[in-house]
């Protein structure tokens, strides 16, 4: 034996020589590297690499280059790419190598491909066949390489091609292949979860694989799956616990030990999985107490990796349902971390504490001295982590100290990311716990000046919102505002050139809005300070806009200054500024206009924003009529694009029919529009506008132009981040200077620390802590935001409705004005209604009252909210019941029990007034028209004629009344049917009557009805629904808003739809719901709703082509109206 060894050893030197011969291939690379290292400048390196690349280009295109040389070229190309030079000409050769070469070539080729190409690179397509071939190869190494490349670079659309083969590999006899296949599938799951939905069962098989390595890789998948939905995998808890027990018990082969710890990485994974499973679940947690205890006990050796396990263990113990003994043990472990001299462990200890104090703030108390030490640690990471911990234990008592610490840190910090992160935290704390106004404003000043233009937009936005909306008490709000104004005036009087733009914008907004609160300060002074800013070169043009809008708000009487300014700016290069200057000029000259545009002290949320841009609807419908393509929401466009782009892996299958059907779908988007605009008579513009808004989805579009022109800057509170300028404000500098004062001696330092500790950890002690520990009992935030009447998600739509209601009320007012200008008849005769005023003047008054009510009624009519059985209107509550409400009493007895709408006034003149009411009968819509005689004389030969092209009149009763007594009312019934669905239909009609024989008056009236009036619930069972669904031909699919304000979004949304539209909810299963309804004439419409993220995917089917569109429109409106 030893002879052999000796022989071999003596032969070694020679052998090594020849081994370097084998390395000759890399000679060129060696040369390259050598020459690069000899270079002194970047420029020389560039030149050299350029030469090298040229040489390589020549080589790769030469036919004489051998495979071996090719391999070597690839390595050089990788080297060049690593240094950041473009060697893209080699990409295709890398693919060629993988395709054509032997195993060695493949290896280099695949490596180069996975380094060079990203998931979106088109050359990858060329690789699919090679990968397929190699996946099927019996050569282990080839299969491994193929799996690796699949996991590294394969994009979503190429997965289906390789998926079956990868799946097969799960049952490969070699464990290394199985392991790689599992990871490849995990990668697929991350990219395209629904494509691997069907193999979840196989994951379970992998979990129980006989090879621990395969099992370990399957944990990757389970960690992810359980993170997404812990509830679906509770049944596996037992298995995970058993696995962990076996690992702890040393049942795995010794091979898996690392520093004599059994499979530490596996333990870490398992502990994470368990903590996810046991979170907020007592019974599951109970299963794992024992193994966690053992884990804590076992991990006592002093090696890094045991600490890694301990850390996970502690986290798990604090995440799952608490058990006192375990918590105590875990707390002791944290002590080991925090007190460890090893800095890495200290870091993890702090992290663990940060996590743990959320559950038990007292733990921080035990380590307060360590925490204080860490605050002054030289390591940036440690400091940051400590502040994170302090952030978690902040309460109203220690907030000033902690915020001070944070700001100190921020002043010395120059890492952008940290600044953004921490400044956000400071402002959060300030908002939550501020002890007083001055502190709050001062702190926010620091935040703005330190964070500057790095700040995330929502910090200034929130701050301004807080100032603007205020809390419940106006006095306090004003004090805060006043303080802000004062403090900003002081800031502006100092040096302003270094202040960040964001801060300037905040200041100018506040001054513009609230400078009037400050009585003692001269307005001129404020204006002077702001104009001074305008002159500074460092001020960005966006900030100038802010300043100018502030100036626009201030003036009142300071016209001379303003005029001067406006004149100066009207020659500015910046068009926006010039425009603003013009506006300023006009507003300052016309105080009435100013008051109207910028009402002083108007409530913050009373400003109407027409975010639907409804004023453009006319333009849109014109464009549509002229042949423009209808608007498609972005997600739809995206989907269509994706469809186009998706890879078709099947060779030329049914591409033609597919394109046809998509064609028909896009065609069908317009019929509502067309049908409505074609079949309209009177107020067609209004209706087509509405129809236009059903296709126009413009939520979230900032409104710049209103009905009356340019909207003032009032709502423009969203400042954009400008170019960063690291500037500090004077007081800050001062404080910073104080901080750099020579440090006191050690003993006093210790004292300081004690003091600091007591101030930092105040409120965490046992006595005072009780209320603070329970987060729910924490003191209410000082600045409580007012609940917003319409949060941003719904704001667009609700504003749209209010905007339109205005429109409709204008409409009715016009009619009434017209009516009251008519000749008035003297009132003499007896009345049907006692409370109707007798005199003519009073009559006019009562009509006014009517108008008011009609405004309300009309609004509700247009917005379809009046479907429910007589909803008491708010106005009726306040005023004595007026005429029209009493009309419901006149409903014929046989109809009284039917669901009906409110009574709406249609029109009136001095002698007659018309109202209508809709009754929802099963087979028809009953339109009742009440004709009331308002005079004291008898009216004769009253005849009602109603026309509507889209509707069919089934029956008609009482449309001719020979004689209508004074102060009495007659009812006329129309039973209406709708054969072709239209989103809205309008009817017009006339009433002719004679007040004096031979003298016929006519009174025109009109109104609208919506499809919703003609829809009835269709009661079905789920099975019937299923059958019907398949038989229906016309379908429409769209995403709708999901109402998320209640616990079960789907149910809430469906109920809302049901209320608004008389639908029948057939069934709700999980995240899907099925709903059915029918049109009066019998055409059914089935709705299939599925929750997808924050949207409701609605799929409608009906035999009638236009019905789904109409219903969809009403669904959208009903949801938007909520």
């Amino acid at each position: 034996m030893s002879d052999v060894v000796e022989k071999t050893l003596t032969a070694l030197p020679g052998l090594f020589d020849s081994q370097t011969g084998a390395a000759k291939i890399t000679n060129r690379l060696r040369q390259l590297v050598k020459s690069i290292t000899e270079l002194t400048s970047k420029h020389e390196e560039e030149n050299l690499i350029k030469q090298e690349l040229c040489a390589m280009k020549e080589q790769v295109s030469s036919p004489n280059t051998s495979m071996k040389q090719m391999r070597e070229i690839m390595v050089r190309a990788m080297y060049c790419e690593m240094l950041g030079y473009d060697a893209s000409f080699t990409y295709i050769h890398a693919i060629k190598l993988a395709q054509q070469g032997g195993v060695l070539e493949k290896r280099v080729g695949y490596l180069a491909v996975s380094l060079f190409l990203n998931e979106g690179h088109e050359l990858l397509l060329l690789l699919v066949n090679t990968v397929l071939k190699d996946l099927q190869s019996t050569n282990l190494i080839e299969a491994c390489m193929a799996l690796t490349v699949v996991a590294q670079v394969f994009p979503k659309d190429m997965i289906p091609a390789v998926l079956p083969l990868v799946e097969d590999k799960l049952s490969h006899p070699k464990e290394i292949i199985r392991r790689k296949a599992v990871l490849a599938l995990y990668k697929f799951y991350l990219i395209a979860p629904n494509q691997v939905q069907h193999i979840h069962g196989k994951f379970r098989k992998a979990l129980s694989d006989r090879d621990p390595g395969v099992m370990a890789s399957s944990l990757h998948i389970y960690l992810q799956l359980i993170r997404e939905s812990p509830d679906s995998y509770k049944d596996l808890t037992g298995s995970f616990v058993t696995i962990l027990k076996q690992v702890l018990g040393g049942k795995l082969p010794v091979d898996f030990n690392y520093h004599s710890v059994p499979a530490p990485w596996l333990q870490i994974q398992l502990l994470r999985i368990l903590s996810l499973l046991g979170k907020e679940d007592q019974s599951t947690s109970e299963l794992m107490y024992e193994v966690l205890d053992e884990s804590l006990r076992r991990a006592e050796m002093n090696h890094n990796i045991t600490y890694a396990i301990l850390y996970e263990c502690v986290k798990a113990v604090y995440t799952i349902h608490p058990k006192v003994e375990l918590l105590e043990k875990a707390a002791r472990c944290i002590g080991n971390f925090v007190l460890s001299p090893k800095i890495n462990l200290k870091y993890l200890g702090l992290k663990a504490l940060t996590y743990v104090v959320q559950h038990d703030a007292k733990l921080a108390l035990q380590h307060q001295m360590t925490i204080i030490e860490c605050l002054d640690h030289s390591d940036f990471t440690i400091k940051r982590e400590t502040l994170e911990l302090l952030f978690r234990i902040t309460n109203a008592q220690n907030v000033t100290v902690i915020v001070e610490k944070m700001l100190d840190f921020l002043r010395g910090c120059n890492d952008e990311h940290t600044i953004i992160h921490l400044v956000g935290k400071v402002s959060e704390l300030a908002e939550k716990f501020a002890p007083d106004n001055s502190w709050f404003i001062q702190t926010m000043n620091c935040v703005f000046s330190i964070g500057g233009d790095l700040l995330q937009q929502d910090v200034p936005n929130n701050f301004l919102r807080l100032l603007a909306e205020g809390s419940e008490s106006k006095e306090e709000d004003d004090q805060l505002r006043l303080y802000a104004v004062e403090s900003y005036l002081t800031v502006l009087k100092g040096h302003t050139s270094h202040l960040p733009q964001c801060f300037l914008q905040v200041m100018s907004w506040v001054l513009g809005e609230y400078a009037h609160l400050q009585g003692s300060v001269d307005r001129r002074e404020v204006i002077r300070l702001l104009t001074q800013l305008l002159d500074q070169r460092s001020v960005s043009s966006e900030t100038r806009v802010w300043i100018l809008s502030a100036l626009t708000k201030i003036p009142e009487g300071q016209t001379d200054l303003i005029l001067h300014l406006a004149e100066r700016l009207s020659s500015s290069q910046d068009t926006v500024l010039r425009q603003q200057a013009q506006e300023l000029l006009h507003l300052s000259q016309d105080s009435q206009l100013h008051e109207w545009v910028l009402p002083r002290g108007a409530p913050w949320d009373a400003i109407e924003v027409d975010s639907s841009l409804s004023f453009l609807d006319g333009f849109v419908s014109e464009a549509l009529a002229a042949g423009a393509a209808p608007y498609k929401p972005p997600h739809q466009r995206q989907e269509e694009l994706c469809e186009d782009r998706a890879l078709n892996l099947e060779p030329y299958s049914f591409s033609l029919p597919v394109s046809l059907s998509s064609c028909s779908i896009t065609d069908r988007q317009s019929p509502t529009l067309l049908s409505v605009s074609s079949g309209l008579s009177g107020n067609s513009t209004e209706l087509s506008q509405k129809a236009g808004s059903s296709t126009l989805i413009l939520e979230g579009v900032k409104r710049v132009w209103g009905k009356d022109g340019y909207l003032p800057q009032k709502e423009a509170t969203a400042p954009l981040v400008d170019e960063p300028s690291a500037a500090v404000q004077p007081p800050v500098q001062q404080e910073a200077a104080e901080r750099t004062e020579p440090r006191p001696e050690l003993s006093t330092r210790n004292q300081d620390k004690q003091q600091l500790a007591s101030s930092l950890f105040v409120g965490l002690g046992v006595g005072s802590s009780v209320s603070l520990l329970g987060r729910s009992e924490a003191p209410p935030p000082r600045f409580r935001k007012k609940p917003r009447p319409h949060e941003s998600s719904s704001s667009g739509t609700s504003e749209k409705s209010s905007g339109s209601s205005c429109r409709s009320s204008h409409h009715t007012t016009d009619i009434f004005l017209y009516g009251s200008f008519l000749e008035e008849e003297p009132a003499t005769s007896k009345s049907a209604f006692d409370h109707t005023p007798k005199s003519t003047t009073a009559n006019g008054l009562s009509q006014n009252k009517d108008t008011k009510e009609d405004k309300h009624a009309n609004t509700s009519q247009i917005f379809g909210g009046d479907m429910v059985i007589v909803r008491p209107s708010t106005i009726q509550d306040k005023h004595p019941p007026s005429e029209s409400s009493d009309l419901t009493a006149l409903l014929p007895a046989d109809l009284k029990d039917l669901p009906h709408s409110d009574v709406i006034s249609l029109t009136s003149d001095p002698s007659l007034s018309l109202s209508s009411c809709r009754l929802f009968r099963d087979e028809a819509l009953l339109l009742l028209i009440f004709i009331s005689n308002c005079t004291e004389t008898v009216i004769k030969d009253v005849a009602v004629q109603l026309t509507c092209e889209e509707l069919k009149t089934a029956s008609l009763r009482g449309n001719i009344v020979d004689c209508l007594e004074a102060r009495s009312t007659s009812v006329c019934h129309y039973a209406l049917l709708m054969d072709d669905p239209h989103t809205n239909v309008s009817f017009t009609g006339t009433v002719s009557y004679q007040t004096q024989p031979g003298h016929t008056n006519t009174l025109p009236f009109s109104g609208t009805l919506s499809t919703a009036d003609f829809i009835r619930p269709l009661v079905l069972t789920t099975e019937e629904y299923g059958k019907l669904w398949l038989s229906l031909s016309h379908d429409v699919k769209q995403n709708l808003k999901l109402l998320t304000d209640a616990g079960d979004p789907l149910r809430t949304t469906l109920n809302a739809l049901k209320d608004a539209l008389q639908l029948h909810v057939v069934d709700i299963i999980g995240s899907e719901g099925i709903v059915a309804c029918r049109l009066l004439s019998g055409a059914p419409c089935l709705l299939h709703c599925r929750v997808s993220g924050a949207a409701l995917v609605m799929w409608l089917r009906s035999p009638h082509p236009a019905l789904p569109d109409c219903i969809l429109y009403h669904c959208q409106r009903a949801l938007a109206h909520r």
């Binding site: 020849s18 490596l111 990871l183 890094n304 940036f380 990471t381 952008e416 990311h417």
Partner: protein
């Protein structure tokens, strides 16, 4: 997920770059530069974790690094990875390199960049930790090497002889010569 693995020397010269998430070429270079800038500033007695750079993935991402003689090994990971676990994974990776190259040094990484990549592929696959067991990694790499040698024919023979010697488990040649707990003193060669 591991987002990227960067190895560079004390001067910031990249020695191995492996991204598991797509970044444009110039972005990659910027990430390398900034990472080097961040890491090289730090003393040896501070912790091996760095948080919250804005380059890869923002606040969710961490740099976990080790400094061996002339080389920095930096793993950019997201919050789903265990810090200490990755720290030891780096150690495993370096020990494996040491085993495969016998006293690994910076030069090995430069001239056998492809081989280092192959070894890394056995440790991390597509951003996921594939194998943490050093013996298993070495076995896989050797399997591939054998293939290379069989192709290399005669020129492969000496390597076979060397591995034969290695496999004899000679008491004179201690294993893991220089690998301490944290800092293995890799013989520092002429810096590049």
């Amino acid at each position: 997920m591991i987002k990227a693995i960067l190895i560079f020397n004390n001067h910031g010269k990249p020695r191995l770059i492996r991204f598991y998430q797509y970044f444009a070429e110039d972005m990659q270079q910027q990430i390398i530069r900034e990472t080097f800038h961040l890491v090289s500033k730090r003393d040896d007695n501070v912790c091996n974790f760095l948080e919250g750079g804005s380059l890869i993935g923002g606040s969710d991402y961490k740099l976990i690094y080790r400094h061996y003689a002339t080389l920095y090994f930096v793993f950019c990971v997201d919050s789903s990875e265990s810090e200490l676990g990755i720290l030891d994974l780096i150690q495993v990776f370096v020990e494996t390199l040491d085993k495969c190259f016998e006293n690994v040094c910076e030069l090995d990484l430069i001239f056998h960049m492809d081989k280092v990549h192959y070894i890394l592929q056995e440790v991390v696959m597509g951003g996921m930790v594939l194998e943490t067991n050093m013996n298993e990694i070495v076995a896989q790499v050797e399997l591939q090497n054998r293939m290379e040698k069989s192709e290399g024919g005669l020129s492969g023979a000496p390597a076979r002889a060397v591995s034969a010697v290695k496999n004899m488990n000679l008491p004179e040649i201690p294993r893991n010569i220089n690998i301490g707990d944290i800092n293995i003193k890799v013989p520092s060669l002429s810096p590049f």
